[in-house]
Subunit: 302 residues, 4 copies
């Protein structure tokens, strides 16, 4: 195939709509997140702790987010999380019209990722507890896919914790991408976000596994419901399932406004900044490009 | 809300005083530090080692510092530690008039963070040891919030260790931010500082948990005193409480002067440097901007 | 030896052919990968878990890849993996004529690395199980060098998993090096790839150790066959040996096309990009240099 | 003290000789390395594994190297290791006349660091085994400071391993600093070197703890000899002490030449490189500045 033919093929296949491109990227990235993230839980659970433990699970899920952001970060921002997308929209970083498509792509990607990890570890699932797919008890495997509350946790405390966790997530993500604050260097934001996820898993993970992401939780849970674990995945933990869906959305907005109101809004304007080092243009450009990579708010939905 | 209205709202809300802005940033960052840092200890202690251990605690507290520096680093320097602020003032990196405000913000943020983590894990605290809030013994939970000495440790050795730990912290922090030395790249200093904190926790943490930070220790300790643990939190360990308050301040100044006198003062001046690569301007600018992010000494207190 | 003489010696020793240079670099890098990577497994196995465990093995193999990419990254791309080289060729990043030489260098380097680690730990091998070199059982040491399937794993599931693992590896590697996507900063791609390998080891390592690399697996396996473990290294696990040779090649191509078709092909052309920030030239250059470091497709084979 | 007075004080205190400056920096950096590195071993040993383990020791020593390189990297190169200094001299990266001073500073810094960690953990040493300072047996503490061979290790195998380890260290260090290869970004070399040290500890640490550094091993060993452990620290392990002194020097030179002859010498000259992206000047400058930071070969000894 000549260069000419290749180019024409590329031109024909390339998505013209930036919204389609971003939706596809969110789907692939969320798929990668769930295959690799839930894979770490699967490895620890199915090997009964021999090939994994709390450290590999927490580091692993964190790095799965890192890789997901590398896969889609330059295209759609790599939110892979409806709560992040909502925080973006609520603070004007992304057009609201994109929100439903992002969420759909994230939900589909997460569900597909859950199916993939079930396939990759199919023999292991079948040999673990003689193929019995349990939601609770010593042979439980449902928590490989979705989060369940600890026995001591009330719905109220659990809801509050998921709000707080997601708020802290969004505060830190906004700081990492805020080039007028310290800001991670371009190309390393995915790693900084990974460190953050690891920290949240070590710090706030004991109540309910710290989902902080409706797609990451609901998508795989729906998969388990149909793949053999049954509807107990929804009723377990006093109907826990809706908490990691609703609370992160609330926490995302709260965190976004805490960061904007306590830090971002007080940054000196570019004109005032010039008294420091004179490179107004450079700073402005950086700020813009950060916006692009977080949420592509420049491209309209039309 | 139109762009116009938004802008005018932003103008009205934005803090005009850079000191107010910095104080607010220190508060938020220290809050984040304590919620996420003490959260890691809480998770390990309250799960009796199942969901955390010495590695997750040390990495977790280190990453909590990283995130705190991302949250405030570009505004106030992200000291989140009175000993660091003192070292900054003592070496002319920050105006002395800012010092009391920084310390107040750090103390308040740390106390608020301790309250938040108590709330987030309220059900877990209540189910752990039947809601008994103990300072010592197998069900002790006070060390989730503040540090306590190991049984073998004398006050003298403990004081000397906290001085040495904080001195090593400040030496390394100054090196990490010293752009005329090797220096971490702009935007990655928070990660390098996190690696340093992890190292100090693995290396000098056995005597008393290596607080190295009066706000991190005293703020949460005061919270525990009123939240139900009682005044034993001050009397425990032979009245240990004042050591992690006083010793880090001494160590901070000692470390700062060790670095300045053994390394920084001997850097060739910018004019001499030009014989190497000619970009005096670039270097000078970098040095300045490092000062800005460490301590904002340019903005006067008036 | 004067500067003059040195220079002339250098001129005489320097390889004129860029293909010879790249082949040599791949050999050295794959050698480093296997010495240090399999060394981590050796340390954990031979110390019966005292000096190593699942975390040190997974981090260690990941960092061995990082160092291997540092050793050869700027010369040959540092593929150290025929599946990566194949993915490069299949997507036009490398000339097909280089492929056989790269694979030979990788196979030879991996075999030599296995011999080196056997030498470095010779006394330890001899004292472990009285010098008996076993392929299976509690004293097995063959899995220090090559991967073997878990008892529950069928060939079908194992093959599918190796295809999926390698596809996910290549998707993420392409994203990490894609400067028109988020992309890791220049000089940090080796670290990002290391994080990825660690993640894959924590996530998809339970079935069969997640080789994802024909040279990494077959080279050391051949060494063990002649060094005393015997031909059981090929027959074990239902003749498992060919799976980590063939499946990664299939997965590498699949992953490459998934990334190209779902992400890369939809990047806006440089001309369109100019509407964002105007530095077409800079972007184009970056893209090119990324290609150079991944596969040096510019230099012809002639 | 006015700005004027401060400046004049600085001028009087600043070392005029670049060699004195570099020697002082090596001393401080090696001190930091040993306090923090051996501190990690002390914490794990003295807490009998409660506050540390093989992971914290390996990560800790690696990060201690990272911080040491941050402390001195921009002044003296931050070798903190006679074997590295030797490799630098042998390949023309540093003047031979500097070598003895560097080695003296490294030895003194390491010895002082050992004394400091003994002081910091004095109470812990006294309470551990009732203050008995043992070289071997279950209460051994001498291996906190220096390395001792595993029971199975012969002197021959141990020597060969230390040669191989140090050679692999130097190959990778040269690659990390080689800006014409992939090369770590400026300011992140200390972190990349830390990753390398961690890897070597996980991979080749089982025989004898992988010293790879005569100063790191001999300095603290001499301290233990006089501080109460006695001369058994030299006779133990079949007079092991000279192996980690001599073998790393041999390995350092071998590794340096392997890298130069297999990779560095084949880099295309700057003039040829211009066909790629035209920034000859930039590349040349980078190469130079890398030399500066590794070994300051520009400044003569006179």
């Amino acid at each position: 195939m000549g260069q000419e033919a290749k180019k024409s093929l590329k031109t024909r296949l390339a998505l013209k709509s930036s919204l389609a491109r971003e939706t596809l990227a969110e789907f692939v990235a969320t798929f990668v997140l769930i295959v690799l993230g839930c894979g770490c839980v699967a490895q620890a659970v199915l090997s009964r702790g021999v090939a994994g433990n709390v450290v590999t699970i927490n580091i692993g899920f964190a790095l799965a987010v890192t890789m997901a952001v590398y896969v889609a970060g330059g295209v759609s921002g790599g939110h892979v999380n409806p709560a992040i997308s909502l925080a973006m929209c609520a603070t004007g970083r992304m057009d609201w019209c994109k929100f439903p498509l992002y969420v759909c792509a994230q939900m589909l990607g997460a569900t597909a990722g859950a199916a993939a990890i079930f396939g990759i570890y199919y023999d292991a699932f079948m040999s673990f507890a003689d193929g019995n797919l349990a939601v609770s008890g010593p042979n439980a495997t449902a928590h490989i896919f979705a989060t369940y509350p600890a026995p001591f946790l009330s719905i109220t405390n659990g809801f509050a914790e998921q709000v707080a966790s997601t708020a802290l997530l969004v505060i830190s993500v906004f700081a990492i991408f805020d080039t007028r604050n310290k800001g991670a260097p371009h190309g390393l934001e995915p790693v900084a976000v990974g460190l953050l996820i690891f920290l949240l898993g070590c710090s706030l993970g004991m109540n309910s596994g710290c989902a902080m992401n409706p797609a990451r939780d609901l998508g795989p849970r729906m998969f388990t419901a149909v793949a053999g674990w049954g509807l107990e995945v929804f009723s377990a933990g006093n109907n826990w399932w809706w908490v990691p869906v609703v609370a992160p959305m609330v926490g995302g907005i709260i965190g976004a406004y805490i960061y904007v109101l306590s830090i971002e809004i007080h940054h000196q304007s570019e004109t005032e900044d010039t008294e420091q080092d004179g490179d107004t243009y450079g700073k402005y450009e950086l700020t813009n490009s950060a916006d692009i990579h977080l949420g592509s708010s420049e491209t309209s939905c039309a």
